[in-house]
Each structure stands twice: as structure tokens, then as C-alpha cells.
């Protein structure tokens, strides 16, 4: 089963304001291995080769915090979505 289809099963209350922000885009350009692009359970981060930047599809984030600790350069300004927004598990 594809990850996109799995995320589609989940309920989200999407906030208009992204809760994840890259602090310094220059750091990502030189980041070795870019762990954020594979450690994230929801594959929120994708490296855009053409624009040389990390794209952040925060809408699919399951708020685990993995990227906050796994980013090689502490380059993610990580916050919880505002109260009531974000992932809403039915089962958990």
C-alpha cells in the first residue's frame, strides 16, 4: 500500500499556518544525506533538486517529532500545531 493512500485514511484538521519551518535554507543545501527526507514516517520533507530546497508537506505530519531530533543540523523550527489542529486519531 502506498504511503499517500495510507495518509489519506487519517483524519486531519489542517491549519492554514504551517507548524514546521526550515530555519536556514542554506544549511539544507550543504546537508550531508538529508536524513529528514527518509526518516519521516509521513515523508513530509522532499528535496526539490531544481530549486535546491526542502519542500515541506506539513499537512500529512503525524506530529511524532522524529525530524526534530533526526535533522542533522537542528535546522527545523518544530512546533505543535495550534490546539485542536493537526492529526486526529480515531484509533490511536
Amino acid at each position: 500500500m502506498r504511503l499517500e493512500d495510507k495518509l489519506f485514511l487519517n483524519r486531519y484538521q489542517t491549519d492554514k499556518h504551517p507548524h514546521l519551518r526550515i530555519k536556514d535554507r542554506e544549511v539544507c543545501r550543504h546537508c550531508d544525506g538529508r536524513p529528514c527526507t527518509f526518516i519521516c514516517p509521513a515523508r513530509v520533507y522532499v528535496w526539490n533538486e531544481g530549486e535546491e530546497r526542502i519542500e515541506t508537506a506539513y499537512e500529512g505530519c503525524v506530529e511524532c517529532g522524529t525530524c526534530r531530533y533526526g535533522c542533522a543540523h537542528d535546522n527545523i523550527d518544530w512546533r505543535y500545531p495550534r490546539g485542536g489542529f493537526g492529526i486526529l486519531y480515531k484509533y490511536g
Binding site: M1, L3, K6, L7, L9, N10, Q13, G33, P35, F38, I39, C40, P41, A42, R43, V62, E63, C64, G65, T66, R68, Y69, G70, W78, Y80, P81, R82, G83, G84, G86, I87, L88, Y89, K90, Y91, G92
Partner: protein, 432 residues
């Protein structure tokens, strides 16, 4: 004027709710902040909930709480890519009172547990993120919640915010932060199946449940475990691995889960099931040596935020509840004196040290480092054990004595006798 409560609790998981119930019952004014729409809506576990520790908070909870199945059997599977060595224990004494453990779904269970706290008199505020602590010099005097006029003053604050312990770190209670070798990242899928199918496939009587823990190829040899637990009409199927090994191996958690689901030993258990939800969560795995400072002036830390997880035995919710309970007891004693300074909250750590919580974590304190440094316990040994079993069970007219020699030769080709003796010795020291 800011609102004022005796106790503010951050997080309505098992730790925060155990504390809230205990305090509210003793007549303390307590407010709980939860960032989810309702308690549990952000929470994930395997999840096996243990009866005994839960009963210390809510006696006879199993008569009314939303539980899935009582666990009557626990299995352990050591996987290679095409085989499995299995071990298990099943007992009908676990099928009835007093019970040992139940499978649960946290979005439902936490919500119910929170209702018990509210019934006892606690105030629960959902959909609210606590963004910061309020300080006066070196004393915590309240919290700043993410809503209009969100400052709430308190005599004492309990941080029960879970594994991603932003406030605990910010408060300087975990000064060195958390490293990737102190966290496991876990993903899990809920797969719906009809009850009868579950009971047939897992050899269960009506309503009873079982758990399977899987090692070896289940995590592609990374430090961690996978699991399959039976719910009423679904399975919880997940895998958790140390974040540092995930980074090293450049793997994605969902790819690992798909790898597990397609294993020949697993595939048939899931056939025809319908995926309902996909989840991700951190598990604090740093063990005893990674525990933060557990208290300060006007503040206590409980549960996952305090790294109180026994990964080897898949125990977390029980350590969370017990620490929440002991935090509450500490506060009740400090309340008598009207003084919540660090000196008066110090009994919290002492009580934890006298309980199974710190004793178990201390017993396994070398384990996280040891297994991180000795990955062959998750790669080579499952392989060797599996090959040995195959050799021994293959009937091909080779005398058994010769087979034993062959097995031994195969093993010593991979690890010398001295290495084997060392592994055994260290394994025993770490686990024994």
C-alpha cells in the same frame, strides 16, 4: 489577573491522568491541558495495557473501560527473510479476573480515563497547547497556554507531555537534549478484520487476545522490534527502531512496515484486512542513564517525558501511570507543608527508586548502549539461530552428532569462540 490553580498538569496521557485522578480525589484543584481535540486523539501505543498498575488508579476499570481483548498468549518470533523461530506462552489464567493485560486503542482508552479524572473533580481543557512555563527566578509558577489570556498560575506543575518533551527540555531539566540513539521511531497501522477471522487465525477463544513480538528481519536487523496485536475487530501492526540506526541505514519507517507486512510469516495473518489508520510516534529508549532531572522548584516530570520506558519488556504506560501516581503523592505531602520547593519534591525520586520503575530501568541501564554497539545481536544471531534450527530439523540421514558439529562450525565461522563467550558474558551482565 491570571487564573490560579493548585496544580497544572501538561498532557492527558496515562501519566498526567493518573496524577490528575489521584490529586482530584484528594480535593486538590487541578487543571489538565491537552493539545488534542480530546485525550487520546494524538496518542499511539502498541498497545498492551497492564491490569495491575491501572487498577492502582481505577479499581475494576476492566468492567467499564473501552478495552479490546484480554491478552492470554504472548509470542516471540525471530525472523529471517524466509523463516521464523518462535516461542510463546499461553495461559487460561490470563483469560479471566484478575487478568494480566489487555490490548487497547489509545484514542478510546485515554478519553475514558480522562472522564474518570473529570468525574473526580479535575478540570480538563482540550485543544490547548502549553507553550511555555512561567518562572519567577528559579521557580516554576505556572504555564503559558496557547490561547487568549492563557497564563495560568499554579503552586506546582506536572510535565506529562510525552516523548517529544519540548517543555522539559526547555526548562533545562534535560540539559543535554535528546540524541537519536535515545529515541525509537515507531509506525503502526490499524488493519480491520472480522472477529471470527482474528480468532481463527490466531487460535483464540471468543473475545480473547494475543500479542506477537518480532525481532531480526522484522526490523531489517536494526535495534528495535515489530509487533502484531489483536484488537476486537482489527489488528495493530507496527514496527519501531532506534532513530540513530534508521539514519545510519537510510531507511524509511513506512517502508519497514511494508517489509514486515509482506514477510511470509506475517502476510497470511493480514490477508483481506482493510487498513483504517496510519500512525507514527516516538518512544524514549535512552533508559536509566538518559533520565532527566525529575523535579525542580515547583515542577515535576512524569512518564515518557521523564524517559520512563522499559523497552526490553515493552512497558511504558505502566511506568507512566506509576510515576504520575507518585508525583501526585509527592504533591499531597508537600501540600501539608505548603512548600513546593525542590527540597520538598525530592521524595518523588526516592519513591520512584523504591518502586519497580527505577529498579527495572537501573537493571537494564547498560542495554541501550550495549545493543547500539553490538548490532550483531539483531542481525547475525537471529540468522545463526535460524540456520541451526533448520539444520537440526532437516532429516537427511546425517547423524545428529555430525549435525551438531556442523552447526557449531557454521556458528564459529561467523563468531570466534572467544567472541561468543564474550557475547554471552556481556549479554548476561546486561540482561541478568
Amino acid at each position: 489577573m491570571a487564573l490560579r490553580f493548585e496544580v497544572v498538569i501538561v498532557g492527558a496521557g496515562p501519566a498526567g491522568l493518573a496524577a490528575a485522578i489521584t490529586l482530584a480525589r484528594a480535593g486538590v484543584e487541578v487543571i489538565i491541558f491537552e493539545r488534542g481535540e480530546h485525550p487520546g486523539s494524538k496518542n499511539v501505543m502498541g498497545g498492551v495495557l497492564y491490569r495491575h498498575p491501572t487498577e492502582t488508579i481505577v479499581p475494576r476499570f476492566y468492567q467499564e473501560a473501552p478495552l479490546e481483548r484480554p491478552v492470554v498468549e504472548q509470542r516471540l518470533w525471530l525472523l529471517t527473510d524466509e523463516a521464523a523461530l518462535t516461542l510463546g506462552y499461553k495461559s487460561m489464567t490470563f483469560a479471566g479476573e484478575p487478568y494480566n493485560a489487555f490490548t487497547v486503542l489509545r484514542a478510546r482508552f485515554d478519553r475514558w480515563l480522562a472522564e474518570q479524572a473529570v468525574a473526580a473533580g479535575a478540570l480538563l481543557i482540550n485543544e490547548t497547547v502549553v507553550e511555555d512555563l512561567l518562572w519567577e527566578k528559579d521557580r516554576v509558577v505556572g504555564v503559558r497556554a496557547g490561547r487568549a489570556e492563557g497564563d495560568v498560575r499554579a503552586e506546582v506543575v506536572i510535565l506529562a507531555e510525552g516523548a517529544n518533551s519540548l517543555l522539559t527540555q526547555k526548562a533545562g531539566l534535560k540539559k543535554d537534549g535528546i540524541n537519536t540513539n535515545q529515541l525509537a521511531v515507531a509506525v503502526k497501522e490499524i488493519i480491520a478484520l472480522p472477529r471470527e477471522k482474528i480468532e481463527d487465525r490466531f487460535n483464540l477463544e471468543e473475545g480473547q487476545g494475543c500479542t506477537i513480538e518480532l525481532l531480526g528481519d522484522a526490523t531489517k536487523g536494526m535495534m528495535g522490534t515489530a509487533f502484531i496485536y489483536t484488537n476486537k475487530d482489527s489488528l495493530s501492526v507496527g514496527v519501531g527502531v532506534l532513530l540513530s540506526s534508521l539514519v545510519r541505514r537510510r531507511l524509511n519507517p513506512n517502508d519497514l512496515l511494508e517489509h514486515l507486512k509482506s514477510h511470509p510469516m506475517v502476510r497470511r495473518l493480514l490477508t483481506g484486512g482493510e487498513s483504517k489508520e496510519y500512525q507514527g510516534h516516538l518512544i524514549p529508549e535512552g533508559g536509566y542513564r538518559a533520565i532527566p532531572k525529575l523535579y525542580g522548584n515547583g515542577v515535576l516530570v512524569a512518564g515518557d517525558a521523564a524517559m520512563l520506558v522499559n523497552g526490553i519488556h515493552r512497558e511504558g504506560s505502566n511506568l507512566a501511570m506509576t510515576s504520575g501516581l507518585l508525583a501526585a503523592k509527592t504533591i499531597l505531602a508537600a501540600r501539608e507543608k505548603g512548600d513546593y520547593s525542590a527540597a520538598n519534591l525530592a521524595p518523588y525520586r526516592e519513591m520512584l527508586a523504591e518502586s519497580f520503575v527505577l529498579q527495572d530501568l537501573q537493571k537494564y541501564q547498560r542495554a541501550p548502549f550495549f545493543f547500539d554497539q553490538n548490532p550483531h545481536f539483531f542481525t547475525l544471531y537471529p540468522q545463526l539461530l535460524s540456520r541451526a534450527a533448520r539444520e537440526f530439523l532437516t532429516v537427511d540421514n546425517v547423524p545428529k552428532g555430525e549435525k551438531q558439529k556442523r552447526i557449531w562450525r557454521e556458528i564459529t565461522a561467523e563468531r570466534s569462540r572467544i567472541q561468543l563467550a564474550g557475547d554471552l558474558y556481556h549479554f548476561w551482565r546486561v540482561m541478568g
